[in-house]
């Protein structure tokens, strides 16, 4: 009994860190929302571009770059990652999933080259980090929770504005109906490339923030990122889908989804789950949630009553 209480007593202390991690991954999940939900493209580049963002940011900071500038460069690196996948998909006709896998694999080598080894740490005392887990429990402006929350809100605000513009609407149309979009004069290929670029830019930004937060960049830090991103989107929709109708709130729910994911992960680890099983658990959760709509429609669909009107039509036809 005492053991259980002492275990549970550890949970509150671990929460700020889990929330900070969740918020940072939430930025990545918002990027994924862009491709997965709006463009309806499954982009696996993210596993690579997440680490690219971290690598670029840390290496540039070690070389004396201003942290904000390093973050911007990570953003641009993400744009380039997306450009490669986008062109492989549109200009060369490779299915989106495969194009993403190819870029992701290539990025593993590139990330190794950027860092020069598999892992590079950065000292919080010597460098002016934007976010660090050292301050996560402090009531101060440099608390990473505040910085990341501000960045998240800014990104959501920009997205909200952008998807209301002519260009933003045309990107949404591209995801909704390709044939219709082209018939309405929309350059669907360009929109796909643009969308995949921006999404990966956000993913790389998220990776850059995470590597600052944890104090190192690692070539493997993006492994399974797509699953975490999908989990965040799905959790967000499951928990807030009914109440958050507005587009900005839907994006916020993705961020909240990531926070919930990391809080849950933190709790199960604190309770004593083998951390090695974490990815298995994540994959299982995402698989179940993705399967539910399909199974529901297949086995639990309510029979539709045939109305008199429809019967009449059938007779006429």
């Amino acid at each position: 009994m005492d053991a259980i209480i002492s275990t549970l007593a550890k949970i509150p202390g671990a929460l700020p860190g889990a929330v900070a991690q969740g918020l940072i991954w939430g930025i990545m999940a918002i990027g994924l929302y862009f491709t997965y939900r709006i463009l309806e493209v499954s982009d696996l580049t993210v596993d690579g571009s997440f680490a690219t963002g971290g690598a670029v940011c840390i290496v540039l900071m070690l070389n004396g770059f201003n942290p904000w500038l390093a973050l911007l460069m990570a953003f641009i690196a993400g744009l380039l990652c997306g450009l490669v996948t986008g062109l492989l998909h549109t200009a060369f006709g490779i299915p989106a999933i495969l194009a993403g896998i190819l870029t992701q694999l290539a990025l593993y080598s590139i990330n190794l080259k950027i860092i020069g080894k598999s892992n590079q740490s950065i000292n919080v005392d010597k460098y002016d980090l934007l976010v660090s887990l050292r301050w996560v429990k402090e009531l101060a402006l440099k608390n990473p929770l505040i910085t990341v929350a501000i960045i998240t809100v800014a990104i959501i605000a920009i997205f909200y504005w952008f998807f209301g513009t002519e260009m933003g609407c045309s990107i949404r149309a591209t995801g909704a109906n390709l044939a219709m979009s082209r018939a309405q004069g929309i350059n669907t290929n360009m929109n796909k490339v643009l969308g995949i670029m921006v999404a990966n830019a956000l993913v790389a930004t998220s990776g850059a923030l995470l590597s600052q937060y944890q104090g190192f960049a690692d070539v493997n830090m993006g492994r399974g990122a797509i699953v975490i991103g999908l989990a965040s989107i799905i959790i967000g929709e499951a928990v807030f889908g009914k109440i958050f109708r507005n587009f900005a709130l839907q994006l916020l729910s993705v961020s909240f989804g990531a926070v919930i994911y990391y809080v849950v992960v933190q709790v199960v680890i604190t309770i004593g789950l083998d951390a090695n099983l974490l990815k298995l658990l994540s994959a299982a959760v995402v698989a179940v949630f993705l399967a539910i709509p399909h199974l529901k429609s297949k086995y639990f669909a309510k029979p539709v009553k045939v109305t008199e009107d429809e019967e009449e039509v059938t007779e006429n036809a």
Partner: protein
């Protein structure tokens, strides 16, 4: 207005399934022509429309719209000249977007899309007026998702989107075939009204011979990738379905044995 010149198109070239769909097709449309197109399955009607719209490239030949050579233009660039309504009501509109958003997308066809706001207040009022002309009650549902509409409503909306900025050419690809007879008649009547009011140059494919005779000022019959019968003006008005079947027999040397054509 529209010139299709010696257009050839084959599919699955080099395989056992090779099919020559268009064999040196020639067609010239004058401004304001409303042409109905009939023909059996596989005659090349839809392929002709898709060639004009740029869905896939021609093997050889030339297509001009209003004097502009569009043969090499991608589909999205040709959209500047063309309004289209498809056979499947799901194809012409974006289900997950609002009615007014769909209209705003169509309003910007052929224009550059920048970072200006997607729908202005003035536009919204304009759309409300446009939707009133459909007489489907859609003017009160501007922000409803299009996915909530019926097939007929979606087809009417697509028609509005296709014609709202007076395209040089309107392509209707069996756009009432998937609708029930009552709705089909309504959409068809509406199409004819819009075409007439705006004097739109139109190509309409139909499987219904009565409709082909009733609407438009010119009728063409296709078989095996060519036009085998072309009639307009007074002569067209006097046509009967029996005439058409007879014409087909003479020109094609076979019966127009197609259930959909015969039954409709």
């Amino acid at each position: 207005m529209l010139d299709i010149c010696k257009v050839h198109k084959s599919f699955n070239v080099g395989t056992v399934n090779e099919k020559k769909v268009l064999r040196g097709l020639n067609l010239h449309l004058k401004e304001g022509d409303f042409v109905t197109v009939i023909g059996g399955n596989g005659a090349g009607k839809s392929t002709m429309l898709n060639m004009v719209a740029g869905v896939y490239p021609v093997d050889s030949g030339k297509i001009t719209i209003g004097g502009n050579d569009v043969t090499k233009l991608p589909e999205y660039k040709r959209a500047k000249f063309i309004g289209r309504v498809f056979q499947d009501p799901m194809t012409g509109t974006a289900a997950t977007m609002q009615i007014e958003e769909n209209l705003a997308l169509a309003a910007r066809r052929g224009k550059s899309r920048g970072l200006k706001i997607g729908i202005t207040k003035a536009e919204r009022e304009h759309y409300r007026e446009l939707l009133k002309t459909l007489d489907l009650g859609l003017e009160d549902r501007l922000t409803s998702k299009v996915g909530l509409l019926s097939g007929g409503q979606r087809q009417a909306l697509t028609l509005l989107m296709a014609t709202m900025n007076n395209p040089q050419l309107l392509l209707l690809d069996e756009h009432t075939a998937a609708l029930d007879p009552k709705t089909a008649l309504k959409v068809l009547t509406l199409s004819a009204k819009i075409v007439e009011e705006n004097n739109l140059t139109t190509l309409m494919i139909t499987h219904n011979m009565n409709d082909a005779i009733k609407y438009g000022n010119r009728l063409i019959m296709m078989n095996n990738g060519r036009i085998i019968f072309d009639v307009s003006g007074e002569e067209k008005k006097k046509l009967t379905t029996a005439d058409l079947l007879e014409k087909f027999k003479i020109s094609a040397g076979e019966e127009l044995a197609n259930d959909r054509v015969l039954l409709s």
